[in-house]
């Protein structure tokens, strides 16, 4: 017994050290956001909090409309999440629960798009954006409409439906006179709530972090999402102090960290289930 707890103690020490190493860059970010550039670039660099937080905040706000950018990202994230959930769960349900012509071909086709490097579609994406007149669109149509058809989303939802819903349940609902949509909506959807939660959170995170595609679809400062705003001050260090750039970084990362710590159990278990389930 004594032995066991000693080995467990060392186990914990190891795990804690690994966690500290993993989280250290975040700690560093929060420390550096309270320092001026001169402090940041000194040897040894600061490892404890300083007192330039306020200056950095003001410098940041004078360079970019950060709160506006934050609102943009929140709004875009919510719309992306909601629409992706609707379309991917409908599609995933059909793929999991029905037999229809060319189903396997279609599914294989969706899966094969995983192998395609996303930047390949950058130019065609830009063409589509301009074809639909979505460039600088105030509702960001270019950024969430394509996301409704996420191959990953439909794959994940298919996995969840296939393991949670059964054909017997569908037949029972039919006998009771429920339409197919009603079966989907009232019986199947509640069963895959963990899947919906996982996909929703991942979609939100993906939308929050998306950089390359918004870069092609937006060039107005007021419409910038958080990553674009961040990148725009990173490249124009001339108007802004590096401490303020780090402040902006923390500003961009913190909301997501909060969401993650509230919902991490959901994200992690859902992801794992979707991936490991046959």
């Amino acid at each position: 017994m004594q032995n066991l707890s000693v080995s467990k103690f060392f186990l914990y020490i190891g795990l804690v050290i690994l966690a500290i190493l993993t989280l250290f860059p975040f700690y560093l970010m929060y420390v550096l956001m309270t320092h001026s550039a001169t402090d940041i670039f000194s040897a040894p660099p600061p490892l404890w909090f300083g007192n330039s937080l306020r200056e950095n905040y003001e410098a940041l706000l004078s360079a970019i409309p950060m709160w506006r950018n934050l609102l943009n990202s929140v709004g875009l994230g919510m719309v992306s999440t909601f629409t992706a959930l609707v379309f991917c769960s409908l599609g995933g349900y059909a793929l999991a629960m029905y037999d229809f012509r060319y189903k396997n071909v279609l599914f294989g086709f969706i899966l094969s798009t995983f192998l395609i490097p996303p930047i390949l579609s950058l130019i065609p994406f830009a063409l589509l954006v301009h074809f639909f007149k979505w460039f600088n669109h105030p509702l960001y149509l270019a950024l969430w409409v394509p996301g409704m058809a996420s191959a990953f989303g439909i794959f994940l939802m298919r996995q969840f439906f296939a393991s949670s819903m059964s054909k017997e349940l569908m037949d029972a609902a039919r006998v009771d006179g429920a339409t197919e949509f009603r079966t989907f909506w009232s019986i199947a959807l509640p069963l895959v709530r963990p899947g919906l939660g996982t996909l929703g959170l991942l979609t939100f995170i993906g939308s929050w972090n998306n950089f390359l595609f918004p870069l092609v679809a937006i060039n107005k400062r007021e419409l910038f999402t958080i990553p674009l705003a961040l990148r725009s001050i990173q490249g124009t260090a001339d108007t802004i102090d590096w401490g303020a750039v780090i402040f902006g970084t923390a500003f961009a990362v913190t909301p997501l960290l909060i969401v993650f710590f509230l919902a991490s159990r959901q994200i992690i278990s859902g992801l794992a289930q979707g991936a490991v389930k046959g």
């Binding site: 670039f41 130019i123 830009a126 954006v129 725009s232």
Partner: protein, 423 residues
């Protein structure tokens, strides 16, 4: 309810009315040029109440790549686009911009107003005018007075030749606090010396990497010599090995960790405004070593073909306001030390204004003199590619001790290969 409708109607009406009155112009620019574009747009709007100008600013690389996407898809292009010298050859040669020599622009009449080489950079050999130069960049050496005084070397002695510079470097590069690491270096990066040397002694019809006929000039005495000197500096430990535009680069200027830096005149503005404002008065500017005169940077404005036709006339008016108007050019000169492209300004009284940042030196007269002596800087569509390939070769020589001759032969072969598919 009625009131709501009335409010909505008035709101709607005012929106449609205002959009009918105001003409909106979008201008895309990169930073740090944005620091002069923004105030000029404001000045223009003040003078022309019916016009609204939206200035879109992006990071240097993002701006130019976004411009490629806009031109490729034919839509979403700005009405006025800024192009930096590093990218100008690509846009000049490949089209996508209005030919400003044609009506209604008729820009040909302004040719005499500009420095010859800057005009040539914005036009094609067959006479199409793609962009107008807004600022030009005489290459100079910026140096710290205190670092020269400490070792008792005069600046004139150090810039007699590149070897003189190395001799000075061996004295100035040293450990100040005795911790065994050098705290002061001759220069941030040996590659900067190379950049200075390949701009030297160009003849008419020659560019940095190609001549007018498209021959690759990389395996020449000019490049061998530049590689040799850069290598000597690296091997003697005279450079701090800090790449340009990194945070450590800015910090090195703040700390006085480098004694000299070669650059365009605009570096004075950048050092003064944000890179190292606390070092005001410690700096000076001189000619490049070895009697070299070189151009180092420059920015241009043009009108994308894909821009809204209805706006092109206004776009042209705004470009003329930024480029042909002496006051505009001088204001850009004052804000970011972007040297004006208009020849007439070289005799302006403000050229004699001493620079407080450069310890009261009349640096603008020096810049004007450098401009007069710059010869031949033809651009070629392969310049961007050649710069990257030669940079790679230099890095192999500096960091991996590759033989200079082999590296240059290899670079020449690669550039020739790449140039073949440019049409």
């Amino acid at each position: 309810m009625k009131r709501l409708i009335a409010v909505l109607a008035i709101g709607f009406l005012s929106i449609t009315l205002s959009s009918a009155w105001a003409q909106t112009l979008t201008v895309s620019t990169f930073c740090s040029l944005c620091n002069s574009t923004r105030p000029l747009a404001e000045a223009y709007m003040e003078a022309n109440p019916g016009v609204e100008i939206i200035v879109n600013e992006l990071e240097y690389g993002d701006h130019h790549n976004n411009l490629v996407t806009a031109l490729a898809t034919g839509e979403g292009a700005p009405d006025v686009a800024a192009v930096e010298i590093g990218f100008i050859s690509k846009f000049v040669a490949d089209g996508g911009f209005e030919d400003l020599s044609q009506a209604p622009y008729n820009a040909g009449q302004y040719e005499e107003l500009f420095a010859d080489y800057a005009w040539a950079q914005g036009s094609t050999p067959d006479g199409r005018i793609i962009t107008l130069p807004v600022d030009i960049a005489p290459g100079a050496m910026f140096y710290r007075h205190d670092r020269f005084e400490e070792v008792g070397v005069s600046v004139d002695d150090a810039i007699g030749s590149w070897d003189d510079l190395i001799a000075f470097g061996k004295e100035v590069t040293r450990d100040l606090d005795g911790d065994g690491n050098n705290d002061v270096f001759l220069i941030a990066d040996a590659a900067d010396v190379f950049e200075g040397m390949i701009r030297m002694g160009l003849e008419e019809g020659q560019g940095k990497y190609f001549d007018n006929e498209g021959n690759v000039l990389v395996n020449t005495e000019r490049f061998h010599e530049a590689f040799r000197v850069a290598k000597e500096i690296r091997d003697a430990g005279l450079d701090a090995q800090i790449g340009a535009w990194s945070n450590e680069w800015y910090q090195a200027f703040k700390d006085g960790a480098v004694a000299v830096q070669f650059s365009g005149a605009w570096l004075e503005g950048s050092l003064r405004d944000w890179m190292a404002p606390d070092t005001a008065g410690l700096w000076g500017a001189s000619n490049l070593p070895g009697g070299a005169y070189a151009s180092w940077g420059g920015s241009f404005f043009g009108i994308p073909v894909a821009a809204d036709d209805a706006n092109k006339e206004l776009a042209w008016d705004f470009i003329k306001f930024m480029v042909l108007n002496e006051e505009s050019q001088l204001s850009a000169f004052d804000t970011i030390e972007a040297f004006p492209s208009l020849k007439s300004l070289k005799t302006d009284a403000r050229m004699e204004e001493p620079s407080a940042f450069l310890n009261g030196q009349q640096a603008r007269l020096l810049y004007a003199d450098i401009i007069d002596n710059i010869a031949g800087t033809t651009t070629h569509p392969g310049d961007v590619i050649a710069a990257e390939i030669v940079g790679g070769a230099l890095s192999q020589v500096l960091n991996e001790d590759r033989n200079i001759a082999d590296a240059l032969i290899d670079a020449e072969r690669q550039i020739t290969r790449q140039a073949r598919r440019l049409r």
